[in-house]
Point group: C2
Chain length 580, copies 2
């Protein structure tokens, strides 16, 4: 290894020298025109007059460190880790911190194992968090529960690098021994949090466990309080939850806060990644919003590296691993694009092509997870009828652009003594069917804000337990969709009466496809078009649908157990005025 010093001194040729690089330096907040000498996968030196066995002329383009996503769920892109890595490598991402709790809900430990194996040898370093909440709460039913001994085993097997988002904040706040046991089992690693709307003494209690970051802030006040209490802030900017614009004043007002803040994806789609980009797009958004580009750069490079204790990366500096990105322009501006990408000193992207990652679907079949459940216990249209047992109905209120839902009080539309969907007032029936254990358990509720005029949409991506969720304007369409989900072994579906108008199979745990990125994106577009044909005009309808089941986010949600409001302690009634 000390030959690295010889390369740094210039006494031996480097493996690679990038000449005429305009290196963006977050410390001086200046560009420095210099050579970057690379030896044995590491940066040996920065300066003038280096010679490489391979020489590459950056022609005065800006060069930035490989970017790092501090929080993402790869499963939600519906792509395999390979296809995901291919896609984000194109956009200059060199590392992601992934929380595999989707696949772990759907397939247990064997799901995590699959993700870990499928992530080896890729052009992006994928570090996994130990999924801390499988299930997310006691109010939903996953494939199997992963308890504190499972957490310990993930670290022992080196599958995981940090503790994944601890979503069961009520349990942590309450001092629940199982939740605290998982945190202790993780040990001295970054303990990532998830505490939407948690403030004051509850926040104190949450933090007393050692959890030290959060990506759920949606208001400036909440973010300021969490930051002031020592939390690292992950500012989410995914496909449908967009918090950057709201929270950036925190950094604009005091740039020093960039040292404790990062921009993250959380949930994002293949299409977004392909069409708009990944961390590069977050950079453009921040720059467009008026943030100093060097400050923005810190939030997608050094700050996540520091939080996740990745001391070997985050800056272009001697001794660090040679992960860097050449832009197509001299500066980082709101329109920059990626020219080429380098990982561990090897060129992995040029002309928008990733080298050395085969994306032929069949090649990955060998890596398919073993577990698979067949759902046969499916209710009929008759089974899901709802008797009108009150005059004020609780309805899940969807607001576009935020993950938070509202509890709406609505007068039910009644026919033959039963509550029926009310398309005129944008009220659809929504149901969740347990799919992992084939129990046939299901629950029914109503949702406002999806825009469904006829037919139904269904999905096996349904956070976090990933049971089948279907929302529709009539019971026949709902049951049709449900049967198609079971037939495909998971996927997305749009139905209209007894007809399937469009479907997309997700054979990996009902969450992911083996198709290459473009095909995944296309399929999702097709599905969204089909959804639009039955009236759904909101952006990312399947993502919105999937989040209606996440029991740990306020206010009203639906799981296989029924309506859940975590801030109200759990299960809620369908009728606000129902008394038994």
């Amino acid at each position: 290894m000390n030959r690295l010093a010889a390369a740094a001194r210039g006494d031996i040729p480097s493996d690679l020298v990038i000449h005429n690089a305009r290196i963006a330096n977050i410390f001086t907040q200046e560009y420095e025109l210099a050579d970057i000498a690379v030896y044995s996968g590491k940066i040996a030196g920065i300066g003038q007059g280096y010679n490489g066995r391979v020489n590459f002329d950056a022609e005065g383009r800006a060069v930035i460190p490989g970017m790092i996503d501090g929080h993402i769920h790869i499963e939600d892109t519906m792509m395999t880790p390979q296809a995901f890595a291919y896609t984000v490598a194109l956009h200059g991402t060199s590392a992601v911190m992934a929380d595999p709790h989707e696949i772990s809900n759907a397939l247990g430990m064997s799901g995590l194992e699959y993700m870990f194996r499928a992530s080896q040898g890729l052009p992006v370093d994928i570090f996994y968090g130990a999924p801390s909440c499988v299930p997310a709460s006691e109010f939903e039913t996953p494939y199997s529960e992963l308890d504190m001994s499972a957490i310990k085993s993930m670290f022992d097997r080196k599958y995981t690098q940090h503790l994944g988002e601890m979503m069961n904040f009520p349990a942590v706040i309450a001092g629940d021994p199982e939740a605290w046991g998982k945190i202790l089992a993780a040990g001295d690693v970054p303990l990532t949090g998830h505490a939407p709307g948690v403030t004051g003494k509850s926040l104190n209690a949450y933090l007393s466990s050692g959890i030290d970051s959060d990506h759920e802030c949606t208001t400036l006040d909440e973010a300021r309080e969490k930051l002031s209490r020592g939390m690292w802030l992950m500012i989410r900017e995914g496909a449908s939850f967009l918090d950057l614009k709201t929270l950036l004043p925190l950094i604009k007002d005091n740039p020093l806060n960039a040292s404790r803040c990062m921009a993250v994806s959380d949930d994002i789609t293949a299409r977004y990644l392909l069409e708009r980009g990944h961390m590069d797009e977050k950079m453009r958004i921040m720059i467009r919003d008026g943030l100093n580009p060097f400050v923005a750069l810190r939030m997608v490079t050094l700050s996540p590296a520091e939080y996740f204790r990745l001391h070997d990366r985050g800056v272009i500096a001697p001794g660090k691993i040679a992960d860097f990105v050449i832009l197509d322009s001299e500066i980082m501006d709101e329109n920059f694009k990626i020219s080429s990408v380098w990982k561990d000193g090897r060129q992995i992207v040029l002309d928008n092509e990733v080298f050395s990652v085969a994306l032929d679907g069949n090649e990955y079949s060998a890596l398919a997870p073993a577990s698979k459940v067949t759902v046969t216990n499916i209710p009929t249209a008759e089974d899901i009828k709802i008797k009108a047992e009150g005059s004020v109905m609780n309805v899940i209120g969807v607001t576009e652009g935020t993950v938070i839902t509202k509890t709406l009080n609505v007068t039910p539309k009644i026919e033959d003594g039963c509550v029926i969907p009310d398309a005129e007032n944008d009220i659809a029936k929504i149901m969740v069917l347990e799919r992992h254990r084939n129990t046939g358990n299901f629950s029914v509720g109503f949702v406002k804000g999806l825009g469904i005029k006829r037919g139904a949409v269904g999905s096996s991506v349904a956070h976090d337990a990933h049971n089948f969720v279907v929302a529709g304007a009539d019971d026949i369409s709902i049951i049709t969709a449900l049967n198609k989900l079971a037939e495909m072994g998971g996927g997305l579906v749009v139905s209209d009466g007894e007809k399937i108008t469009s479907s997309f199979a997700l054979p990996i745990g009902g969450l992911m496809s083996y198709l290459p990125p473009e095909k995944v994106a296309e399929s999702l577009v097709e599905m969204e078009n089909a959804a639009s044909k039955i009236g759904i005009e909101i952006a990312h309808p399947f993502m919105v649908l999937s989040f209606l089941c996440l029991s740990v986010i306020p206010e009203l949600r639906i799981t296989d157990v029924g309506y859940i409001d975590i801030t109200k302690g759990g299960k809620q009634k369908l009728f606000a005025d129902f008394v038994r």
Copy 2:
């Protein structure tokens, strides 16, 4: 431990509540009037309405986190770790990162062991760096060499938390296997550096080893280059080397840099600590110099905690250890003083008294290090005569206020064919005698800038090998001083002809006294007064003298081996025009 959550929620009383605290928050850059609830040594909550079994009214005074010194050599205070901790606790220090390379040079591994044992159970957490350069270079002779297997053993025994300053930068730059082996032996820990004046490709080579911090910057350009190359900067402000004022523009111009910079002591005296303070004094200096007090605060709290991966401290926040300091004023200003100090939730300082640290000298005798060397092989006045073998003499040039020396070319004053000291031109004779192995090896040179008019000063504190160093205006005085040093088994001495005018014994390795802080400070003042009586008017004369032997700092130094200039590759001649 989950009872901490109950205390945070306010459901059970806390052990301690500080009421009416004006907490200085580095993230909001505001003061927040709140209670601090402490349970089981940790901060449970911050907010209103907490009740404690013990309640303390801060009366609206400012409260800051316990401060952290990122780099100090405790031995150079001449106090034991206990006396040192007592002294700095008074000033709100809760943790120090100490490099025990002085005692390790003087007594080998048993010296390090002594420091570690003497640091247990104190009101200040002392974390040790593994002394990476014993000896500092091949050009000086310590008690014994500590090689890479010794480094590994220090970590295995948990004596050390990080790698101590890697001063042998030429070896690291050259890719020397022993130097690189020590770095590898330390493993994945903070690797602290020492690279005065190292820039360009040499700096690249130094950093390629993984070393990631430096405390030797004396110019803004040097500091900016190191920062831009990914190094954490420790800005030194000790007793005689004062770099804060010079380097603060780096942070004033871009406050975000405070996230990678800290203020450190390096070398400091008992008197300075007692009279001026420790990290609190650095805060006052930074504030006086116009730095935002919240930014300054980060540099003595969170930034060192982050660099040293002490994830449990650095901010007053739930879940962190309860180390904090109540000031005597509502704000951090250039005159603030410490009102009370709390460590792990226990009050340790009130009314300028530290609780629970006994400072009776005798009590520590049981902890005395085992090793001791008796020096009997001492040259005579005749032995140290220097024949005039050239007309241009190299002389060590001292400049007050910087650790850097210059090589001066001087026409020697000659008497009877020998070069003699030239008090009129402020040129004294300086000699170093090897003291650990009783070899009798010595070297002689000349120094300008000490101001010696008559007599001699001597010391067994002589960085880093800590041989005997004596500088004087005549040979008799020099030999008198040397004999007294040997007689005391180390210490400080001032002589005048055959008379000892003042002396101070340092029985622990020739470096430290068992006396309590005030006595150590008084003794040093007495010694400095005695030095002043023979003409020495520079500040901290014994510290300046001791650094003239440090072979790893440019330019000219003197060790038992002779003149050394590390930037010129080692040994230098006395006469610039001497040819043999």
